[in-house]
């Protein structure tokens, strides 16, 4: 069995894939890579199926020792990947030979770097997924020094491309597309304008569960307690302490109103913003109040 050993995991690194579906009713969310765009690109570059597991490395610092010939690609936040000290390209597939060490520096922009290995990371699946769910405490362990990861044991079609000239995460302001609802009517019209007009600064207490934002206060039109309800990934939940954009390890239910939901492509970029960076929200469904559907009553 081909494998690699984690020499140092850096500040925080996990195995992720596309997550698990169908367990939300038992209290387990989807989980999976928080920047799906970069994750998908990494798998494509090495010819993996979209659901193959890869490493999600937060703030770089990873080094792994290959025990066999591995075909690897690195995407997401550019962390100056090196093989035995020699720079290899970002968004490029390359070979790491047995005995060589792949290292990542700390990225200067963005948060999460993806490392895909042709054949995938073959740790045991839990409830149909190899994703570590940090909130539910499910799936493979967070990477630790010395961890041996089965890697590259599956095979598929060989990739037709080995370089993808796509944009890396950016510094500065990020404009995020979202759609209103389900609970925009729980806020005042002023608060809804505030959401779209305000500068929302990313708080340091952000993680795979959600990105916490600081900014102007959003006044509620309804003040009663919201009975807990299911929340979608990308939901902008608004507790009194300030909005949270839920990433993939979010709780399956929440008791604060969700004013809108961020589109997946934008959410992938939200997953790469750093504390201190500013987010602006742009509604893509135009109407500042959700479309009203006729209420239907039952006998």
């Amino acid at each position: 069995m081909t494998s690699m050993t984690v020499v140092t995991p850096g500040p925080f690194a996990t195995v992720q894939d596309l997550g698990r579906r169908g367990y939300s009713r038992y209290g387990v969310g989807r989980s999976g890579a928080v920047d799906r765009t970069s994750f998908a690109l990494a798998n494509r570059l090495v010819g993996n199926a979209p659901e193959a597991a890869a490493l999600e490395v937060t703030m770089g610092g990873l080094s792994v020792l290959a025990h066999h010939h591995l075909y690897v690609a690195v995407t997401g936040a550019d962390a100056c990947a090196r093989v035995d000290g020699v720079l290899v390209g970002h968004h490029t597939a390359f070979v790491v030979e047995a005995g060589q060490i792949l290292t990542l520096d700390t990225p200067t922009v963005g948060v999460r770097t993806y490392v895909a290995v042709r054949g995938g990371i073959g740790v045991d699946a839990v409830l149909g997924s190899r994703s570590t769910d940090t909130l539910a405490g499910l799936g493979p362990e967070v990477l630790r020094p010395g961890a041996v990861l089965p890697a590259g044991n599956l095979s598929g079609r060989f990739p037709s491309t080995d370089f993808a000239p796509v944009a890396t995460p950016t510094a500065g302001h990020l404009t995020v597309d979202f759609r209103w609802g389900p609970r925009d009517s729980w806020f005042t019209a002023d608060a809804l304008s505030t959401l779209c007009a305000g500068d929302w600064r990313v708080d340091a207490a952000s993680n795979r569960v959600g990105v916490r934002l600081q900014g102007p206060r959003m006044a509620r039109a309804r003040h009663e307690e919201l009975p807990s309800e299911g929340v979608a990934t990308g939901s902008i939940q608004v507790p009194p302490s300030g909005p949270i954009v839920f990433l993939d390890d979010h709780p399956v239910t929440g008791g604060y109103p969700v004013v809108g939901v961020v589109d997946r492509a934008s959410l992938d970029r939200v997953a790469q913003v750093r504390p201190g960076q500013v987010i602006r929200f742009r509604p893509v469904d135009r109407t500042s109040r959700r479309r009203q559907h006729p209420e239907r009553t039952r006998p």
Partner: protein, 203 residues
């Protein structure tokens, strides 16, 4: 029923009561409209995840609105028996709050069939409803740092069991050896939405 969009892949169905939610959930689960991927019941809502290649928000909300929601009957349905030692740290508080003696508290907790309304908080944690609706039990002001797995507790209008050790602010009335979460079983949760639970006192 009321429908609201939640982004591009989910819609929220809102009902007036928990009973309606459970009826809606059971009906949609046994006979899902085209394109439904997942259902998540909660206190007053069912969150529906759908496949955008197979349906749209408008088509799916119309389909759900046009579905004949069947009334569930609990008659004859088996209840999961949970053996409990009523030795929790908060027994005295809860019995005083509800105006019971210790024996009356146990009689009350074991003398009714509880229903799992929904799960959340942690994998396998079921929020169970029973005869508590008009007497919401206050949570601890300072949550405990470490509540053991199997702690049977009350808060608000719910009773629940901690599936694993975790921080928690519910009032603990007892402990059980029942396994609430087991990855080797399908489903891994002992308590599932709509399920019935019967507590039984053990020494």
């Amino acid at each position: 029923m009321k429908f609201s969009p939640c982004g591009t892949h989910h819609l929220l169905v809102e009902s007036d009561s928990l009973d309606e939610v459970l009826n809606c959930f059971a009906t949609l689960e046994s006979d899902p409209p085209e394109g439904v991927l997942d259902l998540l019941p909660a206190a007053r809502t069912v969150l529906v995840e759908y496949d955008r290649d197979r349906t749209t928000y408008d088509a799916l909300s119309s389909a759900i609105a046009g579905t004949q929601i069947r009334r569930r009957t609990d008659r004859g349905a088996p209840a999961t028996e949970i053996p409990v030692r009523y030795d929790g740290e908060d027994v005295a508080f809860v019995q005083d709050f509800l105006g019971f003696t210790r024996d009356q508290l146990v009689e009350w907790h074991t003398g009714q069939t509880w229903r799992v309304a929904f799960t959340g908080f942690a994998p396998g944690f079921g929020y169970m409803v029973g005869d508590l609706e008009d007497r919401p039990v206050p949570r601890l002001e300072e949550p405990r740092v470490d509540v053991p797995a199997g702690a049977v507790a009350l808060a608000g209008e719910f009773t629940g069991i901690y599936p694993r050790s975790s921080p928690g602010g519910w009032r603990i009335v007892g402990h059980t050896d029942a396994v609430l979460w087991d990855l080797r079983t399908e489903p891994p949760a002992l308590l599932v939405p709509g399920g019935l639970v019967q507590f039984v006192e053990v020494p």
